[in-house]
């Protein structure tokens, strides 16, 4: 018998535990030409806010050793246009849709969450708290524990949908943030968002990104992500979606062993838009080769003793 890759996370049943990470598959259409969305666990769409935003000026991305920096600036079409124009396309597929939401104020998070409540085709929310809090001088919501608590409370009150909080890695003690989210009723945690970084061109003395700083992703951040998934898994009972630099099946296995119940593939989609299918097939073979029947046998199984 084939090993069982299905998993239920935050009340959402997934065919397999491999998702497309937010901001790396837009609203599904472009990647669907390369990757059969019926065969992935879930798609987490590009961040959605209340109102449309254009994003940052170029250059928005640059490559760094084994990774990339981005300051795309969260361009988005606004929640109403998303529901009307983008969601119908995703409904055609037999997969799960998690809507990644963000806001520039705590209240905006609640409003966006509220608009998505009861909308056909939305299986859950992933809440990006790594974006700038406009009222508090642009500091990311997710780096302040009090504001993180208020965002989770606000979203929790606004919706009955599963709520997954996407933690920022740009904090000293990620476990304490995870605990606050659990206390306020989050159903799951995504770990991790990008690490704040910067790169300068020695020829021109200019930052390589117009925004000066940007988010680091790709294999370069994997050890940090693994450490954080492990710390969060040990701190809370709610499930963790692990991400950060996954390119191969072995990379994904590392995340399960550290405590992730599912994984999301981000930057690797840019290198090979089919990679998430290859990884879910790879996971099946990995389990088979180890004589394991169920993906759950890997979760948190790292031998630290």
């Amino acid at each position: 018998m084939k090993p069982d890759l299905s998993i239920e996370i935050a009340g959402i049943k997934l065919r397999n535990p491999v998702m497309l990470a937010s901001g790396t598959a837009r609203y599904g259409e472009e990647i669907s030409h390369h990757c059969d969305l019926n065969q992935i666990g879930a798609i987490i769409v590009k961040g959605i806010a209340l109102k449309p935003t254009p994003g940052n000026p170029p250059p928005r991305i640059c490559e760094t050793p084994s990774g990339m920096l981005n300051a795309i600036g969260l361009p988005n079409i606004g929640v109403d246009a998303f529901i009307k124009e983008k969601l119908p396309f995703l409904r055609q597929f037999d997969t799960r849709v998690l809507v990644n939401i963000f806001g520039s104020t705590v209240e905006e998070y609640g409003e966006v969450a509220g608009r998505l409540e009861g909308v056909d085709g939305v299986d859950g929310l992933e809440v990006n708290i790594s974006c700038p809090n406009v009222k508090e001088g642009g500091i990311a919501f997710g780096t302040d524990i009090g504001i993180t608590r208020r965002v989770v409370q606000t979203v929790r009150r606004a919706t009955t949908l599963p709520v997954i909080i996407k933690l920022s890695p740009n904090v000293t003690d990620i476990a304490s943030f995870a605990k606050v989210c659990e206390e306020e009723g989050a159903d799951g945690l995504s770990v991790i968002n990008t690490l704040l970084g910067m790169s300068i061109d020695p020829k021109t003395w200019r930052p390589r990104l117009a925004n000066i700083t940007g988010g680091l992703s790709g294999p370069a951040i994997r050890p940090v992500a693994i450490r954080m998934v492990w710390q969060v898994h040990n701190a809370v009972r709610i499930p963790v979606i692990g991400m950060g630099g996954i390119v191969t099946t072995e990379d994904a296995v590392e995340f399960f062993l550290a405590g992730a119940s599912a994984v999301a593939i981000g930057t690797a989609n840019f290198i090979n838009p089919k990679v998430s299918l290859e990884i879910s097939e790879g996971l099946e073979r990995y389990l088979e080769s180890r004589g394991l029947k169920n993906i759950t046998e890997l979760i948190g199984a790292v031998k630290t003793a």
Binding site: G23, T24, A25, R26, E30, I31, H33, H34, K46, G47, T53, P54, G55, N56, P57, P58, P59, R60, I61, C62, E63, P65, S66, G67, M68, N70, A71, I72, G73, L74, P75, F102, N128, S130, C131, P132, G138, A140, N193, T194, N211, T213, G215, G218, P219, A220, V247, T248, T267, N269, F270, I271, N272, P273
Partner: protein, 282 residues
Amino acid sequence: MKAKIISNSCVKGPCYKLLLKPLNPVKSVPGQFLMIRPGASDGPSDPLLPRPFSIHRATTDDHIEVLYKRVGKGTAILASLSAEGELEILGPLGNGFVFDGVAAAKEVVVVAGGIGVAPMLGLVETLRAGYPEKEIRVFLGGRGEVDLLCVEELKAVSTEVILATNDGTMGFKGYVTEALEKHLSQSLITHHSSLVTPIIYACGPSPMLQRISEITEPLRIESYFSLEANMACGIGLCMGCAIRSRDGKGYYLVCTDGPVFRGESVDLSGNPPQSPFNKGGD
């Protein structure tokens, strides 16, 4: 998709020509591009991302030529690859050049700066085949003689090739846009009674394209630019390849909305935007 390397050799200075045979035949139009992963396909993490390259020429026997300049890590790896090897490619991508205005145009003017000539040979060959009677003038610019590529090939399929170098080592001494301006002012004087104007296709550094805009827009000349931007995916996933639109409201994506744009639709100035733009965030 896998592609077999048929040949890969230095053309001139730091520029190379790569001849590929894709596993499955690829149908492309001039101006489209490929994403090519430098190095082995089994996940090297440095360099990480595939690189965008124009389709220089699509041959009748399903081969694809890429003309590239060694500028950094990825292109250095490409330059080191030998025939018989394999590469991972994705494409053809992007929109390609539009020919709607060609039939009505007085002449076709093609402007290329440096390695910007890469998509232009295929373009000129296609134009010549489709419009055998049309005058096609090619302006090739570079800092010096070493930057001028494909001169003989272009001569074979165009009415005239005008060369310009900043150091005067070949052709007109100065910017290629100065040579272009001279030509346009002369040809417009001789044709001042008619409204028939040339159509322009250009590829090269942003300042060159911007200068072409300044010259051609007051004359209402239809122009098409093939643009470059830093790219991660080439297929519209990352939104990294933004170019500001002229209406000031937003951005186009070079990989899916382009790489070919109407000259007057894009803002190449590099000036900070007027509207309150979002800061930070992925």
